[in-house]
């Protein structure tokens, strides 16, 4: 009810010019939710995440298998569905090793931090519209706050402690390197992620997730904020330590990264945390860019919005979230791990500046839309045009620069026509088409010995000439 009012209000603001952004309260209505129902909902979120993790591990292995033309796990249960259960049981049965070099307290606490914090963020994800549950009308969302989206970022930041502490407390080199990489990764990519979220906040006028969903009733933010969406997609992969950005646990480089020394269920906690984080960022992407639990256009119009309320909304949310999960798996099946310096270069030199510029552009466009540049409809058009001109100009400039740099590199690679084979101190053969320039020798050759005909050895039989 309030949501509808707010949406209406926002729509009026769009049409009528200057308007104060909508009030910063969550759109979800928790007034009819008693405390015990909140507890039940919390349990449901917990179970939902655990079940999803069980399925996604199987799903990932099957899909990656298909991508490599093999079936993947298909032995245990129908289509191998129970494979994850068996693996989980095996993990629990395994011996739990704590290295003697390890800092015992931190070594045990680190996986707990990672595993526990992974569940927290999902509390603010709106998984559906209001539904009837045990005689109460309650939104399919555990809770919401005016700064709910920031909570996700904050929890991700604290969750990074799990990786860092795990790396440090293991008392061994590779885990330490993995932990350091993990920190650097989360810090670098959270900046760009935060910036991409700022554009959403500018459009929605709120950080409350339920209100962001409500604000997308007319248009999902993936269309006006496509660039933010792309940045978010890249950063969410970086945040969750997933291929191609799983440098913190790069098997080829660091053994197992921060969890090299972990075994049994402690390792299982990291595993669990990683997969739940995947779901969290996917759910957040759904909420921020794909209209959350809203039915896709087309289906939403059927029968006066029948599919856009009640438990149906959970289905749309679920499908959209799993779309991202499939994207994760597809990435893993297609791309190799990037090099660490390339990864950092992408984060700091491309993602952050691009996201910054984009946020500034969105701020201007949004200001023009709301009416800060005058009531005329031309204000928006002129702003967008000015930004477009700037972008095109910048791109041209950048293109020219990169072309010049490329040409310079090409020139530096050109092999000279003449080559001194000993220039580098050791002999190098000339390339085809190159001419050798020989330096004079330091030691001159001896005079050739002249041999007169009479002094040579005489031969009695033709056999003596063999080999001459």
């Amino acid at each position: 009810m309030i949501a509808a009012q707010l949406v209406q209000h926002a729509g009026e603001g769009l049409a009528l010019g200057p308007a104060v952004p909508t009030a910063d309260v969550p759109a979800a209505d928790f007034s009819d939710t008693p405390w015990w129902l909140t507890l039940i909902k919390g349990q449901m979120v917990f179970v939902f995440l655990l079940l999803n993790v069980l399925v996604v591990i199987w799903f990932e292995r099957r899909v990656v298998g298909q991508m490599q033309q093999r079936p993947g796990p298909n032995r245990f249960g129908p289509f191998g569905l129970f494979q994850t259960l068996a693996d989980g049981l095996k993990l629990m049965m395994k011996e739990d090793v704590i290295p003697s070099n390890a800092d015992r307290v931190m070594f045990i606490v680190a996986p707990l931090i990672t595993g526990a914090l992974a569940f927290v963020s999902f509390a603010i994800i709106p998984m559906g519209a209001e539904v009837e549950m045990f005689g109460h009308t309650t939104p399919l969302q555990l809770t919401d706050t005016p700064v709910a989206t920031l909570l996700v970022l904050a929890v991700a930041g604290v969750g990074a402690y799990g990786f860092v502490l795990a790396g440090w407390s293991s008392g061994s080199t590779y885990p330490l390197l993995g932990g350091l990489r993990s920190t650097a990764q989360v810090i670098s990519y959270e900046i760009a992620m935060g910036l991409s979220l700022v554009a959403v906040f500018l459009y929605a006028g709120s950080m409350s997730t339920s209100q962001i969903v409500a604000a997308q009733a007319d248009l999902w933010y993936i269309i006006p904020l496509f660039f933010s969406f792309v940045i978010y997609l890249v950063t969410m992969v970086g945040e969750t330590n997933r291929l191609p950005f799983d440098l913190a646990e790069g098997e080829g480089e660091l053994g197992g990264g921060f969890h090299t020394e972990y075994s049994s269920m402690k390792f299982g906690m990291f595993f669990l945390g990683e997969y739940i984080n995947m779901f969290t960022v996917s759910a957040l992407a759904t909420t921020l860019f794909l209209g959350g639990w809203m039915a896709p256009p087309g289906i939403a119009w059927i029968n006066d919005g029948m599919f856009n309320e009640g438990w149906w909304t959970f289905l749309w949310f679920f499908l959209k979230m799993w779309l991202f999960i499939f994207g994760y798996v597809w990435l893993r099946g297609s791309l190799p791990r990037v090099r660490y310096d390339q990864f950092m270069k992408l984060g700091w030199k491309i993602m952050i500046p691009a996201a910054l510029a984009w946020v500034v552009a969105v701020a201007f466009i949004r200001a023009a839309q709301i009416g800060y540049f005058g009531d005329s409809i031309w204000a928006t058009i002129i702003t967008v045009a000015a930004i477009a001109v700037l972008v095109i100009f910048g791109l041209l400039l950048w293109d020219r620069r990169s072309q010049a740099a490329q040409e310079a590199e090409q020139r530096s690679r050109q092999a000279p026509d003449e080559v001194d084979p000993f220039a580098g101190g050791y002999p190098v053969p000339p390339l085809p088409g190159q001419r050798l320039v020989e330096r004079p020798r330091a030691v001159t050759a001896a005079e050739p010995v002249t041999v007169d005909a009479g002094s040579g050895p005489t031969h009695d039989s033709p056999e003596d000439d063999r080999g001459r």
Partner: protein, 255 residues
Amino acid sequence: MADEDKKAEHTREVRYNEDDLEIRRPEGETGENTDRVSPIMRKDEGQQPEKRKGFFAEMLAPVGGFGVTFSTMCRKVDTEEYPEKPRPTQARYHGRHQLNRYADGLEKCIGCELCAWACPADAILVEGADNTDEARFSPGERYGRVYQINYLRCIFCGLCIEACPTRALTMTNEYEMADAERAPLIYEKHQLLAPMEDGMLRAPLPMADGTDHHDYYMGRVTGPTPGQQEYVADRDGQTTDQNDSGPTAEQEAYR
């Protein structure tokens, strides 16, 4: 003076080296040939006309790998579901051996041991014995009383098959012969003998009426004769009277 020497040395050296280069080239290859160029030189060659791709193909080339993985996902999986759906072997696959029978049920093996002698892995053991009128297992004088193939040694080369003079020994397509122990992998005669087909009679029995081993060998015996059937009926009537154990006991009799 020293300068002149150096200069002479220099020019001579250069000329020498050029000659040397000429000599070292393989025949038919001149200095202008750029077939074998380094990657650096190829950059220049890239400007020569090559097949131009479409605008979109070029634009999407960097993410083409995603298309590869996605289309592979829709392709049929190549994995063989072995224990559930074993794929048939080739028709002439060298599998487990088989000791064949003539159409009336007499064994083809004559206990000549040629297979054992031909075997490069010494996997076959044959002990021949004389056929008697009371107990005849094969046409002619002799039959293989003991026949063992050790599948821990056998290399499935098929030389035994080539050596067999009566076509008694052939190979089947069966290949599932793994075992956890050694003893079961030494196959005995009763395991190797071909299964009885319709109309065959269980040896020992006399040869078909009015034939000798040449007729068998030339393939003139196409089934049991009434005399053989009568003999077997008599014999089986006696044995079933004596003990009720049926064919397994008779198989034991071969050993």
